[in-house]
Amino acid sequence: MSEAKLGVAFFTLLRRDLMLAYRHRAQMMNPLLFFVIVVSLFPLGLDPEPELLHTIAPGVIWVAALLAAMLSLDTMFRSDFEDGSLEQLLLTPHPLPLLVLAKILAHWLVSGLPLLLLAPLLGMLLNLGSEGLLPLLATLLLGTPILSLIGSIGVALTVGLRGGGVLLSLLILPLFIPVLIFAAAAVGNAEAGIDITGQLAFLGSLLAAAFALAPLATAAALRISLN
C-alpha cells in the first residue's frame, strides 16, 4: 500500500521536474548549445584537417559531453533549494534515495538524452565516420546516466554554497575520468575494428554501481547540506 504511494510519488516528482524543464526549455537548451560550440572550437583551434579531426573526434566529443554535463548539473537542485521545495522533499515519509533517483532521471532525460540526439551532428563536424557513430551512441547511452548519477552527489554537496558551479567541477570531474577513458577508447577501438564488448560491459557495470550507490550518497549529502 505504501509501495503504491511511493510509485505515485516517484512519477509525480518525475513529471513535475519534466514539466518545469519544459517551461524553461530555453534555459535547458543552453548546455546543449554549449556542447556544440565547444566541439566546434577544436577544429578552429587546431587544424581542420579531416584525418586529425577523425582521430580526436571521440575524445573531443566526450570531453565536451563532460563539460556540458557539468553545466546542466547545476540546475538539478538549485531552483528547488531556492524556493524551499527541496526541504519539503526531505520531510516526506518516502525514502529520499528513491525521490532523488526521480530527479536524476528527469535531469538525464532533459540534459543527457539530447546529447545522444546531437551526436550525429557532432560526428559530422569532426569527421567521425559511420563506423564510429553507433559505438559513440552506445557509450553516450551508457555514460551520460553515470554522469548524472555521480554528478548529483557533487550537486548535493555544494547546493547553496558560494562558488558552487566551479567548485562542483573541481569535485566531480576527476570522478568522471574512468567514464571518459573507457567511452572515448571504446569509440576509437571500434573504428579500428577491435571488439569493444568488454569496454561497454565495464561502462555498464559502472552504470549499475552508480545507479545503486549514488542516490544513497546524494540523499545523505542533501540531508547534510540542508542540515
Binding site: 570531474l173 574512468p178 550518497a217
Partner: protein, 251 residues
C-alpha cells in the same frame, strides 16, 4: 558500543584527545627524525647506485615513500572522516581534516620527484604514464576535498560533507587506477613508459623501508598537531579550552 575499549572511548573527548595528540605528536616526531637520518644515510651514502639508472635511482627513496603515503593518507582520511560522521566523534573528524593537506603535500612531492626522476630517464619532465597520471588525479581529489572544506562555513556541516566526498573518493580511487592503467596500456609508445622501480636489491630495500616508516611517523606527528589546532578552533568557547588557556600560558 561495547566493542570500543574504554581508553579509546575516553580519547574521543576533545579535551583528552588534545592532550594525547600533543604527546603523540612529539613522540612520533622524534621517531620520524631518527628514521629520516638513518634513511638518508643508507639512501645517499651507504647504498650502491643502480646498475641501470645510476645515482638517479636514489630519488626512489623519496618518490616511492611519498607515493605510498599519498594513497595511505587518503584511506586514513576517509576512514576517520566516516568514523567521525557516523559516531559523531569530533576528534576523528578533526583528524580527517588535518590529514588532507599532509596527503596533498605527499602527492605533490610524489609528482615532482617523479618528474625529476623521469627527466634523466626518458628526456621529458612529464609523461602520461599510469603512475604519474594516477597521482595527478589523486592530487585533484585532495584539492577538491580541501576546497569543499573551506567553502562550508559551519564546521560540523563541513565535517560531514567532506566525509561523504572522501568516501565517494575512496570508492572511486581503485576504479580510477584501473582505468588509467588500462588507458596507459592502450597508448603505450615504443619507449618504456613505466616509472619502474629498479630491480630491488637488499641494500636498496633498507633505505626504502626506513624512509617509508619515517614518512609514516612524520605524517602521524604532523596530523596530530594539525588536529589539535582544528579542535582548538572548533571548541573555542568550551570550558576545557578556557581552562587550558587560563591555566597554562599555552605551549
Amino acid at each position: 558500543m561495547s566493542i570500543i575499549p574504554n581508553w579509546l572511548h575516553r580519547l574521543s573527548s576533545p579535551k583528552n584527545f588534545y592532550r594525547f595528540a600533543g604527546t603523540a605528536s612529539n613522540w612520533c616526531g622524534w621517531i620520524a627524525l631518527v628514521l629520516i637520518i638513518a634513511g638518508l644515510y643508507y639512501g645517499l651514502i651507504d647504498s650502491p647506485p643502480d646498475y641501470q639508472q645510476g645515482d638517479s635511482a636514489r630519488i626512489m627513496y623519496v618518490h616511492v615513500p611519498a607515493a605510498w603515503m599519498s594513497m595511505f593518507v587518503y584511506v586514513v582520511m576517509a576512514s576517520s572522516a566516516a568514523v567521525g560522521m557516523i559516531w559523531r566523534i569530533k576528534a576523528s573528524s578533526a583528524f580527517a581534516n588535518a590529514s588532507a593537506p599532509v596527503g596533498a603535500m605527499f602527492t605533490a612531492l610524489a609528482l615532482l620527484t617523479g618528474m625529476l626522476w623521469g627527466k634523466p630517464m626518458w628526456g621529458t619532465y612529464w609523461v602520461w604514464d599510469a603512475r604519474l597520471t594516477s597521482e595527478l588525479i589523486l592530487l585533484f581529489l585532495y584539492l577538491g576535498y580541501m576546497a569543499l572544506n573551506s567553502a562550508i562555513e559551519d564546521r560540523e556541516t563541513a565535517a560531514r560533507a567532506t566525509a561523504i566526498l572522501a568516501l565517494v573518493g575512496v570508492v572511486n580511487i581503485p576504479i580510477i587506477h584501473y582505468s588509467v592503467e588500462w588507458w596507459n596500456t592502450l597508448h603505450q609508445g615504443a619507449t618504456v613508459t613505466k616509472l619502474d622501480k629498479p630491480s630491488i636489491h637488499i641494500s636498496m630495500l633498507i633505505p626504502l623501508l626506513l624512509m617509508a616508516f619515517a614518512f609514516k611517523f612524520y605524517y602521524l606527528s604532523n596530523v596530530f598537531r594539525r588536529a589539535r589546532c582544528e579542535l582548538l578552533e572548533r571548541e573555542r568557547g568550551k570550558a576545557w579550552v578556557r581552562e587550558l588557556v587560563g591555566g597554562e600560558k599555552g605551549e
